[in-house]
Symmetry: C2
Amino acid sequence: MTVGSALTDALAAWRETLGADAVSCDAQVIQGVNVATFQTTARAAAVLRPSTHEDVQQCVRLANRFRIPLYPISTGKNWGYGSRVPVRDAVLLDLGRLNRITDFNEELAYVTLEPGVTQRQLYDFLQAKDSRLWMDATGSSPDCSVVGNTLERGFGHTPMGDHCSHACGFRVVLPTGDAIETGFGRFPGAISGPLSRWGLGPALDGLFSQSNLGIVTKMTVWLMPAPESVEAFVFQADKPVGPIVDALRPLRMNGLLRGVMHIGNDYKVISGSGQYPWEATAGKTPLLPKTMATLRRELRIAQWSGSGALYGTRGQVKEAKAALGRALRGHVDRVQFFDERRLNLFRRIERPYRSITGRRDLSRALQLVPQLLDVLQGKPTAGFLGSAYWRKKTPVPAAPDPDADRCGLLWCSPVAPNTGKDVTLVTDLAIEMALSYGFEPIISVSLLTERMTISTIALTYDREVAGEDARAMDCYRALTDRLLERGYPPYRLNVASMDYANGAGAYGTVVQAIRTALDPNGTVAPGRYDGR
Amino acid sequence: MTVGSALTDALAAWRETLGADAVSCDAQVIQGVNVATFQTTARAAAVLRPSTHEDVQQCVRLANRFRIPLYPISTGKNWGYGSRVPVRDAVLLDLGRLNRITDFNEELAYVTLEPGVTQRQLYDFLQAKDSRLWMDATGSSPDCSVVGNTLERGFGHTPMGDHCSHACGFRVVLPTGDAIETGFGRFPGAISGPLSRWGLGPALDGLFSQSNLGIVTKMTVWLMPAPESVEAFVFQADKPVGPIVDALRPLRMNGLLRGVMHIGNDYKVISGSGQYPWEATAGKTPLLPKTMATLRRELRIAQWSGSGALYGTRGQVKEAKAALGRALRGHVDRVQFFDERRLNLFRRIERPYRSITGRRDLSRALQLVPQLLDVLQGKPTAGFLGSAYWRKKTPVPAAPDPDADRCGLLWCSPVAPNTGKDVTLVTDLAIEMALSYGFEPIISVSLLTERMTISTIALTYDREVAGEDARAMDCYRALTDRLLERGYPPYRLNVASMDYANGAGAYGTVVQAIRTALDPNGTVAPGRYDGR
């Protein structure tokens, strides 16, 4: 998009509608929003900050009139997938000021919120209400948007961890500026709008996640009643990951394990609990398996570390604990449980504990425990954010800003069946290819549902190092290609790689036909997951 | 649709493609398929019976060429909603011959099947495989299509009772004749196709349930591992239903009750376990509350009867049983549990038990127990089908055929929040209105999910009685209107009432725009849930 007269006219119209303070072309602002954690080429030319649903409708109508594409973001914390950077040149539609919680129901366990509501805000809201309900938190920043993460099909840790499966009733601004509600909410006065995904007739809400078919300005997120009992666990294994996955699947299938378990490799633990060992590697990258093996012993990191929690009544948790112990026997080297008493203790002494475990002679895996315990109970934490600084030579700042600090981060996130064989194939391939491109294979395997896993493979680097941006993207593409060949497509894409969403043949034609029907001018987020 | 030359030409072309035996214009066949359990006006002019997915594509392509609309049915057992009768004049596309089970995975607990596969066929398949997996069965006939019920958002009894929430990977013949797979299955070789609902980019599967946007020729249905333990329960209450709903909700929310519970009123039990008491009413209809009260005492029917099951490990079931007992105390008069030993006993002696309980001095509610125990364990049963003959003066035939036997049946099925207040409002309104139109208020409240209920209100009558067809439809519409006014829209519609799917304003415009984009000639099931 060239800054032509159409843009000038559009900006004037938006200023008139939204007020001057809600439209920014300030060079510093523009420069800031156009930086992600990897190289991007499309640029935002301006930023609009509407405050209401109706304002969003006006923004979209004017964008249509002046034929200026808009790129909506919620809070713009989509690190590793593109942050706030558009897929193609556009004006940024920052929904951060739509930050109202518009409905809350303790009895039926839901909350309705706008895209600017952050994880922290929702958590604080529930605390202030003295609610017995838990949200599900991702391991990303407390400043992330709940709606944004759900629409990108992000996930967390509790039984509500598959976010998109526990959300409904989207209010959507269409690319024409009109608005609809999905599900039963479209019927005037229908009180089941926040309670059911389906509605009557074709279900439309699926169209608006990972999509450019509309702008969601409100959604309902289901919450879970705090269980009577919760017991977290971590385990370590210097053994293959495959048999662990196979051992856990039956417990997930039969409902003994209701939450989302995560299994990280040694690189995941070391990068999550400290920065790159420049000393031990004499400044060389990548951290080779041989050096990693030495560090594993030194830092007491296992090859694989897992975490999860048992939720339920006291009886259920007790039984699940015994079953989990039996299932893991022989497949892991150590399991530790954190019951409520120990959980509370950890929460109270989090700070001193951190300083204690900072000592190198303690297990590094255990350093991650406090933040793990938080997310396992639906509490957002900033504790995992530092890992973006893994390859930086400067320490993690007090207020991390991975974009501005030029942290390099690309997530490659393949979907695989929940079997040991598949997880082994995916992780073996990721380890081999990341290292061959000069990156550490930083892997977390999330046992997201009974039947499928998502492995998130972080390519973490320093954008200040010449050539690394290109090499990381090359690695990302080569790895994604290989995974696709093997039958493991990505669950989510970064803004520079939307071509993987291309539907070959009839599938692409359908998505494109719907796109053309709903957005004839190509106003909303052109290129974003749009099947072309 | 007039039987014009286009139809003649199309029939010739279909005959050439499918073979003559797969195309029928036989007057008796046509007459048969055009009968539902209520009055309909649209007619099928011919029946196509393709055997393969590719045949379906050919049928659709030819339909486009000759501009003849097609109306797909799976097995045509959509009793109470329209059976096989189209919404508007069309040629019937009977998918009954697509009856293959194409994939099955014991480890990952799923089965992939075509629309002609019946509940019985799937059940027998699992038995023959000696599978540890359970399907979820509806209370309708064993000859019902699994795919058809899922696409209509039907439901059953087990933890997989919300069928559409446990299905994915649709293969769809589009109205153009092209085909797509939803979810990850669109990527060549992607092995997670049967394992995840989402896929990459906008999720399309929601578009193809309760819809005319495509013809699903295959889908994956998730199964559940047989639990270590199962304990069924029935309860009776001569007390209001509201407090029962409120007492059960917390147990559903916290996962102690994982299945779908159903609560029926006295009319539901009496109509499910015998025919209309012509004697006690001196031949008059409806069965008034005063007479019903007498019969209740006589037949030992409570005002409300509930059923459900506890699934899990032995420990979980034991704990859930205690919690259920505590929750229901004071709200119901009697709870009976059927543990595995008693369940097996029932199964073995089902026939003698039936003859025993046929004696009028035994509780009529208990007569329904054997078939309840079946469906609570995922076994299809024909035991509920006789209720369509409630108002008939002839006995239920050995092979019930409600359409041909001119049974009158219309389901009115509002969605409401899972609260006592809402269920009370819905059931009170249904009782008042059904009686005022001369019908018995035959109500079953299904606690479908943690947050919402569906009440199925059966208007059951004898189509041979003059005027009853019209009166039943008047009652259906008046009741649906009143429920909508109060905020309780239907979850599903009959073929004569698709106008309720009309989306006013932007919603209808969106559905219509998608419809026009995907089906420019209006080839697939015109009028069906199509938002116009």
